[in-house]
Amino acid sequence: MAIFPPVQRVWWNEPIERTEILWITISLVWAIILFFMMPYWHLAGEQNLSNEAYKIRPEVFAERTEAMAEKYTVREEGDTGIPVVRPPAGSDIYMLGRLWEWWPILELEKDQTYRLHLSSMDYQHGFSLLPENINLQVHPDYEMVVTIKPNRAGEYSVVCNEYCGIGHHTMVGKIYVVDK
C-alpha cells in the first residue's frame, strides 16, 4: 500500500499494465496537441499578442496620448468633458489608464487596423474590452503595443479588471467602432 514502503526492493523494472500504458499514451498525445495549438495559432489564428513593448516614463506616454487627442478630437462625450478622438485608420493610437479612468475615448473605423498603445500613469490596471472580453494587463513604466482590427461596429466599454484602489469599480472607458 501507498502508506508503506514498496514491498519489492527493485520496483522500477516492474511491467506496467496495459490500461495504464494506453492511458499514458493517449494523455501524451493530448499533451502534445495542447502544446502545438499555441504555435499553430500564431501561424493560423488571428488573435495573438505581439511582444512589442517599451520601457517608458508615464509623462512621456501622457504627452503622446495628449498629442493624439489634441490633433484628432472630434467631440466630447455627453457632458463628461472627455474627448472622443478619431485618429486616422492605420495609425498609432493611445489609451492611458490612471486613477480612475481610461483616457481618451477612441472612435475607430470598422475593419481597419490600428496600433494600440497602452500604459498606466500610476498603479497596474486591467484593460478589459467588453463585450468582446479581450483582457490585457497594463503596467506603469511599460508601454504595450497591440495591433487591433475591430470587426464589428458598436459601442464598446473598457472596464478596469485589475484592482487599483478604492475607486477601481468606477474606472470605465469607451471605444466606438463606426462604419466608414
Binding site: V7, R9, V10, W11, W12, N13, Y54
Partner: protein, 64 residues
C-alpha cells in the same frame, strides 16, 4: 494472484532480504534521492521561469 510477478527479475523478495543480486536501476536511485530531486525542483523553475523571465524584462528597450 498478487504473488505472480511475471517479468520481474527478482520475484518474491522482501526489502533488503534479496541483498545485492540485483542493482537498483538508475531511475529508481534518482527517485530515491530527495536531495537530488530538491536540487532539480528548485533549479529548473529558477532557470526557466524566473531567470529567463527577468532577462526578458531587462531586455525590453527604452521607447524612442
Amino acid at each position: 494472484m498478487g504473488d505472480t510477478e511475471t517479468g520481474v527479475p527478482a520475484p518474491g523478495t522482501t526489502p533488503g532480504s534479496s541483498g545485492d543480486e540485483e542493482p537498483i536501476p538508475f531511475m529508481q536511485q534518482v527517485l530515491d534521492n530527495p536531495f537530488l530531486l530538491l536540487f532539480l525542483g528548485v533549479a529548473i523553475p529558477t532557470v526557466f521561469y524566473i531567470i529567463w523571465g527577468v532577462m526578458e524584462v531587462i531586455a525590453i528597450p527604452m521607447t524612442n
